[in-house]
């Protein structure tokens, strides 16, 4: 249960690209071919280990439909990582990435780590977007990139964990102010025995938390 850090993620992208399926594959290790339309936000969580530390990922899975855009837009706030997903078998979902990216950049904190994901890599025969195109888009906009399959679970673990590693590195570099929860990072409940491994800034937090 105890974790050193909690990272908040948000999954965004067009409707039907497999956002909910990616989440389910990551949290429950299963694939559900027919999934109800997400009509607002749904949540998932899983514990991972990075650098020997327990990290809890809190994942917000948002509706892709245009009509819910005003609602989902408000969920970017306080996210440390975003998975921006398109469907490699549907060119239009790739074409919309710019709009998604603008939205994300405008409504999130500037340090948010964005992972670009080309999903449904198992459907090679129906591919409409080349892997190189995804890589080029990611390079151009400074994103990390992976192709995944929520169905076969290919690269799903890696997508979530690599994003977490990137956030973790940024914390080590001091890029994130971990005491400002608007950055999507929380420090776990503290135990005296583990205090020695934590940096001094967290001691300050503990005092702050204790006063209320």
């Amino acid at each position: 249960m105890a974790y050193a850090y909690l990272f908040k993620y948000i999954i965004i992208g067009d409707t039907g690209v497999g956002k909910s399926c990616l989440l389910l594959q990551f949290t429950d290790k299963r694939f559900q071919p027919v999934h109800d339309l997400t009509i607002g936000v749904e949540f998932g969580a899983r514990m991972i280990t990075i650098d020997g530390k327990q990290i809890k990922l809190q994942i917000w899975d948002t509706a892709g439909q245009e009509s819910f855009r005003s609602i989902t837009r408000s969920y970017y706030r306080g996210a440390a990582g975003a998975l921006l997903v398109y469907d490699i078998t549907r060119r239009d979902t790739f074409n919309h990435l710019t709009t998604w990216l603008e939205d994300a950049r405008q409504h999130s904190n500037s340090n948010m780590v964005i992972m670009l994901i080309g999903n449904k890599s198992d459907l090679e025969s129906r591919r409409e977007v080349k892997k190189e195109e995804g890589e080029a888009f990611a390079r151009e906009h400074g994103l990390i990139f992976m192709e995944t399959s929520a169905k076969t679970a290919s690269n799903v673990e890696e997508a979530f964990i690599n994003t977490a590693k990137e956030i973790y590195e940024k914390i080590q570099e001091g890029v994130f102010d971990i005491n400002n929860e608007a950055n999507g990072i929380k420090i776990g409940p503290q135990h005296p025995t583990t205090n020695s491994t934590l940096s001094s800034s967290q001691g300050g937090h503990q005092a702050g938390g204790g006063c209320c």
Binding site: I39, G40, F43, S74, K186, H205
Partner: protein, 514 residues
């Protein structure tokens, strides 16, 4: 500074949840919780999801999942406050209940013989229908309720789990009478009401005989003088249901008080409940939540709020009759502002419990005390402490730094209004909207009506989830979007920073069922 405090609060929240503890006021009480803090049962959220929902920064709008269904395809959505309390202090409940006849012969009040239906069953409607057909002895009612907690989430959680059981118990007491719809309720019951009611052929004779022998008084009014049949008051079936609801609220409040001896039940809560029984909607309200019906785009208010301002005269009268409740620190009179010492001897505007208008009085020493009711609108407070005058709980609430209890001024008695649902044809877009004050503080009845009507008009009429999406849309309109200067809604007005909960109940399903 404010941000730092809030940051600490939110971080603490994460710690509390992760640690598996559910207390919402650390160090407050050593007693166990009667029910752990949670979100409404029908949402079916995991502990992780509950933790996510308590995000005061992004304020996610929680909705009924597509895989879950409420009776009548009821829609529901909620959002947590912007940081005023760690937990969401609103609670909600939605159930279909079947009241069974009391086992015969049992004179002691037996446990209520009641079946609770899984409200999340996809085919809940069919079940109800079937039960009504083969179980004519059973009494089925639909129940929706919202609770808005303050000074802790405990009372709201307890009330959301238990109030419907109290309603069911009281309906069970009179279910024989309610199941014989064409009979007026007898004034006095025989000792075995079940048998008499079912076997007597001349019911008028029974009523008269009963009332003639009713010299000892009817139940509930033991001190009434002997009644004569020709002056007998006619009591309707509906008023029996209203009485059952009123007594259920009273019992709920008494139970919270008793349970506080063994459990940690923090704070108090308002309660707004809607009950559907035998063609009528009963709307019981104790507090400042609100319900309206939208029928063909027209707004029909079905509840009224109880606030220091709306209940001023009742409170002033109580304080006038029992001045010790004011602890020599407050005055029951109202003045437009605090009276200053230098104004003693001058004449100032005031009003007493007998007045709705204003007059002048000569100021004396006593008028320098703090007014019982002070402030305007949402800032109006009783005894400088509380902004709502009816509800459940609050038994230990005192004026800050004093020994003056607030509870005597609070009433747990709901006002119950009846809407004859079956007498109207309702279309798919005709709904009842129930919301806690977070909604109504920022949106008017008209704005809510227009928003819901236009939203539903743009949905697929066969989509059972449209009412939940409409509820989500309403919450979005009331919460708004976080800008540099706080949460903002349309026309740059301030959005609600309060917990907001909304039920949208389509009304056409009632008639389809009968």
């Amino acid at each position: 500074m404010l941000t730092r405090v809030r940051s600490a609060v939110v971080n603490f929240m994460g710690g509390v949840m992760a640690g598996g503890s559910n207390g919402d006021h650390p160090g407050g009480s050593d007693l166990p919780l009667k029910f752990p803090y949670s979100r409404p049962e029908f949402l079916g959220l995991s502990p992780d999801e509950i933790e996510c929902s308590a995000d005061h920064i992004a304020r996610p709008i929680l909705i009924l999942k597509e895989t879950r269904r409420l009776p009548w395809a009821t829609g529901y959505a909620e959002v947590i406050n912007a940081g005023k309390s760690i937990l969401n202090e609103d609670q909600a409940c939605c159930e279909v209940l079947v009241v069974k006849k009391k086992p015969p012969g049992g004179s002691a009040p037996s446990r209520v013989n009641m079946t609770r239906r899984r409200s999340s069953l996809p085919n809940g409607e069919d079940l109800t229908l079937r039960d009504n057909l083969d179980g004519s002895e059973d009494l089925t009612f639909h129940y929706w309720a919202l609770f808005d907690g303050h000074a802790g989430s405990g009372a709201a959680v307890v009330a959301s789990r238990l109030l419907h059981h109290h309603v069911a118990l009281h309906l069970q007491e009179v279910m024989e009478i309610l199941c014989t719809p064409n009979l007026p309720p007898p004034t006095c019951l025989e000792e075995e009401p079940v048998n008499h009611l079912l076997t007597t052929t001349s019911n008028r004779a029974l009523t008269r005989a009963a009332s003639l022998r009713g010299a000892a008084g009817a139940p509930g009014s033991p001190n009434t003088p002997p009644t004569r049949f020709f002056t007998e008051k006619k009591v309707s079936q509906e008023s029996l249901v209203i009485g059952a609801i009123e007594n259920a609220f009273k019992d709920m409040d008494v139970q919270i008080e008793k349970d506080k001896a063994t459990y940690d039940i923090s704070g108090g809560c308002t309660a707004l409940m809607v009950l559907y029984l035998q063609g009528n909607l009963y709307v019981g309200n104790a507090g400042d939540s609100r319900a309206i019906i939208i029928r063909a785009g027209e707004v029909i208010p079905v509840s009224a709020e109880f606030t220091p301002e709306s209940e001023r005269q009742r409170l002033q009268f109580l304080a006038y009759m029992q001045p010790h409740l004011l602890g020599n620190e407050f005055t029951h009179l109202e003045f437009p502002r605090r009276v200053q010492r230098k104004e003693v001897g001058k004449k100032m505007l005031y009003r007493d419990f007998t007045m709705s208008g204003w007059a002048y009085k000569t100021i004396d020493e006593d008028d320098l005390k703090f007014p019982l009711i002070y402030g305007e609108g949402k800032k109006a407070r009783v005894l400088a402490t509380i902004g709502v005058t009816r509800g459940l709980g609050d038994h230990n609430l005192k004026v800050h730094d004093s020994n003056i209890y607030i509870k005597p001024f609070l009433s747990c008695c709901p006002e119950v209004k009846v809407y004859p649902l079956s007498q109207w044809e309702h279309k798919a877009d005709d709904v009842l909207v129930m919301g806690t004050d977070g909604l109504w503080d920022v949106l008017s009845n008209q704005e809510v009506s227009e928003a819901v009507t236009s939203f539903l008009a743009n949905c697929d009429a066969d989509d059972q989830h449209r009412y939940t999406m409409a509820a989500q849309d309403l919450i979005m309109r009331a919460r708004g979007v976080l800008k540099d200067r706080g949460w903002r809604i349309s026309n740059d007005r301030l959005g609600s920073g309060d917990d907001i909960s909304v039920f949208i109940i389509p009304l056409m399903y009632a008639n389809k069922q009968n």
